[in-house]
Symmetry: D2
Subunit: 196 residues, 4 copies
């Protein structure tokens, strides 16, 4: 039984083992997973998986499916393994490699997260288009203007329909009797699928 | 089988029947449901249920539990019924009445959403505290400063632990070849539980 | 003497005559004018001047300089004239024409606002670069992703130094005893100058 | 002649000497000063002046008036003095003391900034009401929910008319060829005046 006993995404940040890697914050994970529209038997690629926090969320919900967590940093792979153990999740396969090359041998996916692209977004999206199932969905998280731009241009060229939202979360931090505003960096979430 | 074939919250706004009532937007619903931490057998109160969009999300995920959708406007009750039918959801019970009075006879809940309080927030939270199960959670959505303030003060007096985030979503709207920024009103989401 | 008796920008929206044209909101005008860094004797181009609200702000502060308010819609030109009269501002020259063509005969400017570009941003920036004084500054307001990205690309190619901020203003609207959150659309403000 | 040769507020952050004190960011200063509606001969109180960045902005614009920069920390007073020298501003008087006590002997002001209140906001606003001129304006910057709510309640009781905006600025930070989103903490700006 998993450490996370709930059906809903948005696992609190501090339940993950993080090391020094940046991690997608819980509220942004909730929206990202929501845009992904998971099924219990989804096959998921999580490209640029980092600490694996999105993989864990996806693995718990797609409990009859599987998640391929692609990450080029070996530090990330270790954290993904640790988090899988921590959360008792067994349907996640960490892949230590660089996209798009590392994607070539993976099974076709119906749900694809792109959290990092190492400057290869166009090539990665071409591979996604080649291997994603007919009714598949791809969701990108962009924290730079350049990634936003590249995603928009590539998806337009591929004639995908897509939708872009910016998510800005402000937390409050208790300091004595005060709740201070504490902005999290905004993130662009782009969700695309083939035109039907 | 439901019209919504996915395991994840954040059902697109346009799948709901809305009438003229305001509706919690899909990204805000995703975060709200995430803060609620649903189980499959959760018993949920949705106070100020409006069109029932949060009730539907909760009912689909808590598929072995039940949702009590409390709404004082009969127009809302009708929309909730229509949306239940539309989505094929059968574990939602619409209650046409005003909180806190309308809550008195409901079964104890472990998950409580407060989307509207008709100026009775303190009294509603007192009732919540009386009838919520030991490990229950209450999540409030506030769109006014006054509701934020009242929630913060009441939860402090009740010695609940709570956490406040502001969620600001900007969508983009396609106009010709342009993606225009289109701000949604921010919302305060306050999630509380008893100190343990 | 002007209707606006203060030295500071950010004139309240409702003091302007607006017609049906969109208008840059007062808080965004305050930041835009701040990024422009006006002098009393600045010569300003306001390209895509709309209702003239930014021209009026600039004209009042650059009271020994002049403002060329370029707008292709004759409805805008009329509003600019009306607002000049309303505010008693006499150093603004409305130019009914389309940029960049309409800019060719204007005197060199040291401060340039681009509020609208009609899809000709690259060409307009080329003209700006040709006619802006050595220590000039150009400030763009973008409400679409495409304009943001075109500005970023053009300024990069021109080897300008530039800086981008997103300004998100949420107002509160009083409804009875409540202050409701009321989001204004975010705007990207890009301020550039030649590298020195 | 001042180091800042422009007529407009929003002096870049890095032109100030800051020490370890927090400082109001340039875009927020631009909006704050805009809400203040300065005249050249305004008498300004800057309560909780910190590094003096708002005092400097006000002193430059109200060049025939004066600014009383009230700050309880002696580190702040030193920074204010250094910044006055740095910017060549001579109409700012630093007052080392705690409001409201430190305000009792100041000359009446027509423009009042409250950037910090040390938990004494209600008492400070009572003093403001006593000593502010008939057409005066007071502008508060709040970074906590408690200050926002205290300001709202006190101004309501005092029957002032007031207006609240939240300003959220996201900067971009260049990292290699990327522009990363970099959120600044949002701030509530509350501008009030007596009902007329």
């Amino acid at each position: 039984m998993s450490k996370w006993r709930f059906q809903t995404p948005g696992i609190p940040d501090d339940l993950f083992i993080r090391g020094d890697l940046p991690m997608t914050k819980e509220e942004v994970r909730a929206v990202t997973i929501s845009k992904l529209r998971l099924k219990r038997d989804s096959v998921v690629w999580d490209i640029g998986a980092g600490t694996g926090s999105l993989s864990i969320e996806a693995g718990l919900i797609a409990d009859q499916g599987s998640v391929w967590a692609v990450e080029r940093e070996s530090e990330g792979i270790e954290l993904i393994n640790q988090n899988c153990e921590e959360f008792g999740v067994e349907n996640i396969e960490p892949i230590n490699g660089e996209a798009p090359a590392a994607l070539a041998d993976l099974p076709a996916a119906d749900r694809i997260i792109i959290g990092g692209s190492g400057g290869q977004l166009e090539e990665i999206l071409a591979m996604v288009d080649k291997k994603m199932t007919a009714e598949g969905r791809v969701v990108l998280n962009a924290i730079t203007l350049e990634t936003l731009l590249a995603a928009k241009e590539s998806l337009s060229k591929m004639d995908y329909s897509f939708n872009i939202v910016t998510v800005s979360i402000t937390r409050t931090r208790e300091i004595g009797n005060y709740h201070m505003l504490d902005a999290q960096n905004p993130i662009y979430i782009i969700a695309g699928e083939r035109r039907r």
